[in-house]
Symmetry: D4
Subunit: 166 residues, 8 copies
């Protein structure tokens, strides 16, 4: 996959089952992406290099997922000026996900991270598309169509539920 527009990184390969949904959405939307394991704590210099080179390599958006004391999204956002989307991952020793959420969300003034819901990597993928779609009409149409499909699916599900009580 050449010229990726979105970089998906995660602190550990154990985050892949959660982060997969971001990749899947981007793939379905025909948005090019790369995916890597970049650990803030185990590979700090690799993380610095990744963030420093991201814009020059053509990335437009970075999606970073991590759990526990999740420093990856915020640290990457402190080095690049690209929009960084943070995905709090509920890892095995997480305290119900609170640690992941708070250490991604509560960034100080000056360095924003666009945080999505706990384990919400699908929404990270959609948000990346919404960002890219501000200058890509075809992608905007794709998102519009996706929203219509969600609506249709709800209506079908409603009919199913209604049918059980009629």
């Amino acid at each position: 996959m050449n010229n990726p527009q979105v970089g998906i990184i995660m602190g550990s390969d154990s985050d892949l089952p959660v982060m997969q949904a971001a990749a899947d959405f981007l793939k379905a939307a025909s948005v090019s992406f790369e995916i890597k394991v970049v650990s803030a704590h185990r590979t700090p210099l690799r993380m610095v290099e990744y963030a420093q080179s991201a814009s020059d390599r053509g990335l437009k958006v970075i999606i970073a997922g991590a759990g526990g004391a999740a420093h990856l999204p915020g640290m990457v956002a402190s080095i690049t000026n690209l929009p960084v989307i943070g995905v709090p991952v509920k890892s095995s020793n997480s305290i119900d996900g609170w640690d992941s959420i708070l250490s991604i969300l509560q960034m100080p003034n000056g360095i924003p991270v666009a945080t999505v819901a706990l384990n919400g990597s699908k929404n990270a993928g959609i948000l990346a598309c919404r960002i890219l779609a501000t200058n890509d009409d075809a992608l905007a149409d794709y998102l519009q169509n996706y929203q219509e499909e969600m609506k249709t699916a709800v209506l079908q599900k409603s009919r199913n539920v209604e049918g059980k009580f009629s």
Copy 2:
């Protein structure tokens, strides 16, 4: 201010002291914006209209701040396909801000909100700029410069602190 690129909305005018920082950052960065009170609960249809027309009116990003059971960011994000940045506001009867944070952050799959820190409206302004800067080199330079200034300020502050102990 014509042709605003960013729409700043808030659930109540009591949110203005918090939301002001987003407007200030955008103004300093020469990004055009509009600012309104749009209440999800007191003016639901106005909110629907605002979100429905946002893209056609030329908005690229929406910043929505709200407190308590903060539905404004998520509801707007469900109607438009623009990237929506949510600012959890710690309002007077908020439970330490947890209600604002969770009702903005924990959106279901399909409808992302880019959530920033509690009362983090300055970061919402910066994030809006990072999004716009993916297609605006001058704005990207502005952000780069802003980051440099933050660095310089820290170095000066460090010298002050060091001076007190030498």
Copy 3:
């Protein structure tokens, strides 16, 4: 089922296992109801229409269940003037239910939601009956009888427990 008095709506068909108990109680109490999937986020305009037409269609009470950033009960309550009962559902990625509870409970002044316990849809059904019973003596008798049956069941259970230790 014609002329329903109570509308049961839920944000997703995955909420049905929880919301079923409300329907079951209403059915046992011979209170007419309708049941639908109405998503605040996936079908926002359908939600608006549902709430706008509720009173004219003869509904007296609305029970709305949702999980995560649960906006359905509060948004419906902002459009209709009927009493709205909110059921926080502990959905799969919920943070122990706190997100569901706080985004339903912490409504701003002006727009109340009658919130019941986490997953407490049976109580939502009973509360709807208590509301209707303020003008329906037969239903009031039904509730009185139901309360007596609970008492009798406790006494029987107590005898069972006592028997294990005598």
Copy 4:
């Protein structure tokens, strides 16, 4: 005030500054009410008598406010079959209001309490009106009008905010 339709009770006279807003709304809506201090813990038998006689005395709805280990709303709801609205009060030694909220909200199956937001007694008053309005068209009109006024107030506030940035 004869023949009150709504009973407002509170666990302590220190809850009055919070509970006043319920009374104010009912008064403005011309709904008759009574107001008393009834402590679940300091006057348990008085509480039992109050709940037992409530329906016979003509009350249609009970609003009960309490803080800390707030047992008043739930206990009253266990004795009467009227709809009981619970107002969690953030009292002086409350743990940020969590104790009040959870001990009112998390009622077991069989005994619902319609819980409103922390210190949300105004919404308790409005909810009582919504309940009564299911059989009182004039009151329904009053609520409709109140909702319109909220909308108008938001629009005016929005113009004020917009004016500061134009």
Copy 5:
């Protein structure tokens, strides 16, 4: 079992698996007790009668276990003057036990409940014995002996652990 000194009550027979440990400890310590299901919410008047008659029937201590919005211990303590030990039970829809703990622990001034750990009914049994032992030397000796046995068990367990690493 005649002349019980300790009354064990619980809000539901589903609490028995937790509350059993209190009974077991009392039995082992040869302290007479009775055990019943007494629900604050489903049998409020039975609860009042139980608390009113407790002292006259010779009870010295009451152990009350309940989950969720757990009103039983506090309500009983408001009617009797006996020491009441509250056991927060983590019931099925409990929010991680916080609701049970806070609605038992956070009693207002004037009405104490001696709260033990979540699901800590064994400690409730021991605490009841410590209270009775203030006037029962044989029971005090029993407790002393129990404490010695715990110490011995720890030493044995330590040897086992040490053995695995030697």
Copy 6:
């Protein structure tokens, strides 16, 4: 004051404003007590000696207050077999009192602490009296009378509140 029946200890003299209420209640009830600063962390051996000698010195009940990582009540309860009442104190760097509560309440099986509400030292005094009153009829009468006075005070306060709305 000779032959104290109750020992009041606290981890720091900064806890005295909170712990004073326990002493005041005991004094009013004519129950003899002693009061000391005994720090689990700053004077661990003094704490051990205090707990070891408590019963021999004639103490019947110990009230221990502490804040933050509050180890004093639990440690004393592990050395003596007297009933120990724990008062969680909300100290200056406490995290809203959660640390004090959890480190006192959540004792392991075998070592109970009778925990009262945050800053609830008055209730600790009352609970100590309830324990002593299991063998002191005069004290039981005092408590009965105290409960009656609380009831009378509530009735007077209710009349005051009612008067404001008549």
Copy 7:
């Protein structure tokens, strides 16, 4: 194992599955250690003796793990002057680990405990090595090498993840 440098203690043998990782790391790093069950609550005097003699027996660092109201690390730190590392263990009746964390972390001024993550005993082992390595160059080299190995492992895992998407 003679002349242990590190003492690993835990409040219960049920903590061993968690605490094992500390021992494993020390063993791999060729750091001598001892391991024991020392309960603050079930063997308080043994705990005192352990802490009092630790330095004289040649220990340099103590690792103490405990769950619930976890007093062991703090109490040991109050008696010895050695650095004490606290491991909060998520025991069976723990409230999601909050009790363990707060009762270890929130020590008062004067008595520090070096707290690691919930169940983070491996990090306790590494931290003990970092402390010892301040005067042990070989151990410092070992840690440096360990860090390199972590980096290499991440790179390999990244290649695996990348391979799934190429």
Copy 8:
């Protein structure tokens, strides 16, 4: 101050009022230290350089304080192999300190941070001394003496408290 043994760093000069206590303790103990503002987010590369050079410059221990999404302690610990002590600072927009605590404490396996209490910088200073004292007998004596002084102070305070009640 030449050849500092301890490096004190903080994310912002607004952390100085909290972090001062660490410096004060080290100064009183005659332990050499340096103090700087090093922001993980505003000066990420400065932070990397600081951590990379720390050991070579002769530092033995690093104390790092930060608030909100506090990445400084963990990031420094990922680059150096020195023991790093983390001080969670309750900054102005912190959510009661939970964000600071969790983002410092919950480090993944491999990278430990020795976390002290919220705002517990004095304990960070003492812990640094305990670490250094493992190879510095004079410092160990200083700590021993400090502990004795704390004990003496408690005894004096106890006499003052006792005096108020005699």
